[in-house]
Subunit: 391 residues, 2 copies
């Protein structure tokens, strides 16, 4: 069975972009091409998968082809992959499957979203439609409201508290402050994060990720060709994905995401690794409570202990067994919906190769994980990466 | 390398549906499950790919998970694949890749669209956004207008004429009249088809496909497991896909679709077959001129001879070397955008197994082809199927 390597990865800065979709994609793709150690000609790319929720509400069909046509990838098979905020996590999986199939040697997975040319109403709409519409959105439940319900229930069942979430916010801002690609590069202390204005009780402004523009691009290669391009590829050691009921009321519990647990189980099994082997993880912290749940669902903390994990700062860079969101996460690095999943892979690629800015390096980074969630947990993709391939 | 079989396929009728997305998907999936010769439990499905342009303008994110959650396919990895009208042609390709990868044994490819609960303005919008927006749509070029340009140019370069297109319309209505799943089941004679009201000169009403609701579902299986479910699987002998510039002005020619030619070249090569081996083909006749171009681009007619091919009725069922659109095609069977690609596979599956209604059977049907185009040709997926696997 062919093993899959990443030979290059790049992205735009996340934030408010003046350029449109084509410009953002071209910048991201070029950054990825230029990150390949040996000269890389994009005309050798066999296939591409581009994640986007709605191309930022532009609502254009066939836009995956519009992205590739003028970025050196003309005429290749390309499609949009859409799973709300997990769109490019699944693009990553589908690119991995394409190489595993033996039908392609060099495949691009990417993502893109442009949110900040939308009116506030349209932004709310495009965020809201990623959750359940029939029972939740049309009844007035917003996304912060959805995650606020999860937080309240976790507080009730396990004794976690809002201060735990504040610690997650402070940590991610601490990490993102040094990341030149981050949307919100500012240091936020405990008191400030604790006293943000209320969005959806108990979640304040500092519990919520921003709305970002951005694009990200990852170049995958089959093992037999990867070494032509770099001596230090990053290997995809495992991939797992799953889905769950879209509406919260259909789920047996709202203090865990079953899609995360199932995706992680498959990813760990396929890589023959466990949570204990993970040195750093990019987890989907669209809200701080989502990171708390992820630390439990991915096995970094015991069930119910996610609050303590956060308050003890066990996810802070080089402060515990695993560094969580060394990039700043969605909270600080930003969340351009469809670009987020492959953007997480960009961070892991750079960390495992020692290519990050001064002060950002996770020590002894050998194995990294990405965790990308669609909406309130209806879809999830988990990938595990390492500096060495599977045996 | 694992070979890929189709063990079941089903769809809804195409047309105006009163039921919503969930109901249509459940009906289509159930028809596919029930088409499997041996009892089929959907809980064994490993993964799913669902094509949709916009879930019919419902514009919901994460809706692929909403489709699978209550159709016996809970918790599996599922994503939406979007490439405008070629969405489920690419879902089919991605399902094929997933089985080829060795990571999945049973995979569902499907598609769904609901158009008829939209206002006329929104219908036009959702059709228009599948072509180029920047240079074409915002300048007022509609989809019929786009294909009308192609027709006029073909008439000019090759001497084809509107009567040739009329023959395509008559043929597809003749085929579709007997298809119980078709949207427009009516016989249309030459004079009637010739005298339809003008939509975009030279294309009249009878040159244009209808706007349909519908869903379609195909069950793919790895060779080592397929025989458990049926003694007569249909084999995927080849898959090819490609893309092209979205805007017509970027293309070197508008009397051929380069994406079709490239996709077909790969599909033929991977199956070791040529156009001469194809007994029946479902081609993407969103407009009659699109079928004319497809007969040339797929190699059934010489370049420039597509008009004669049509007027000599060489694509009529059992009237020539290859039957074109035995289902009625998009013109008569209907065109529910994202459902069309896997809907074409449903027809080939039934024809190759001899499962069609009386009078519809293509004689000696051993090898079939599907051709699914996104928008005005920016994306295309071609698949070749046979009663026997590749050697």
């Amino acid at each position: 069975m062919v093993e899959v390597a990443i030979i290059g990865a790049g992205q735009t800065k996340y934030g408010n972009h003046e350029q449109g979709l084509k410009g953002m994609w071209a910048e991201s793709a070029l950054n990825a091409f230029e990150s390949v150690d040996q000269n890389f000609d994009p005309r050798i790319i066999d296939e591409a998968f581009i994640g986007s929720t709605a191309f930022g509400g532009g609502q254009l069909g066939n836009t995956a082809a519009l992205m590739t046509e003028h970025s050196g990838m003309d005429n290749i098979p390309v499609r949009r992959v859409e799973n709300a905020c997990a769109s490019s996590g699944f693009a990553m999986r589908d690119a991995w499957l394409a190489i595993k199939s033996g039908q392609a040697d060099i495949v691009v997975a990417g993502g893109i979203e442009k949110m900040n040319d939308l009116s506030p109403e349209r932004k709310r709409f495009w965020l809201g439609v990623s959750g359940d519409t029939e029972w939740e959105r049309l009844a007035g439940l917003t996304f912060p409201g959805t995650y606020a319900l999860m937080a309240r229930r976790h507080f009730h069942e396990y004794g976690s508290k809002h201060d735990d979430l504040v610690n997650i916010s402070v940590k991610n801002h601490t990490h993102g402050f040094l990341n030149e690609y981050a949307h919100l590069r500012k240091q936020v202390d405990f008191d400030k994060a604790k006293s943000g204005f209320m969005v959806a009780d108990p979640l304040t402004l500092y519990d919520c990720c921003p709305t970002s523009d951005g694009a990200s691009t990852v170049i995958l290669a089959a093992d037999h060709i990867a070494k032509k391009f770099t001596d230090t590829p990053v290997w995809v050691k495992g991939s797992g994905a799953a889905s769950d009921y879209l509406a919260l009321h259909d789920r047996p519990s709202i203090t865990e995401l079953i899609a995360t647990k199932k995706a992680a189980e498959v990813a760990y099994k396929s890589s023959s690794l466990t949570a204990k082997n993970i040195d750093l993880a990019e987890v989907h912290d669209c809200f701080t409570i989502a990171e708390l749940l992820a630390t439990e669902d991915l096995g970094f903390a015991d069930k119910g202990d996610g609050g303590n994990f956060a308050s003890q700062e066990r996810g802070m860079r080089n402060n515990g067994d695993v560094t969580i969101n060394s990039s700043g996460g969605l909270k600080s690095k930003g969340h351009p919906l469809g670009a987020t999943g492959t953007g997480q892979v960009v961070e892991i690629f750079k960390q495992l190769r020692g290519d990050v800015e001064q002060g950002r390096q996770v020590d002894d980074a050998e194995v990294g994980l990405t965790h990308n969630v669609g909406g309130s947990g209806a879809t999830c993709a988990v990938h595990i990466f390492g500096r060495s391939p599977n045996d």
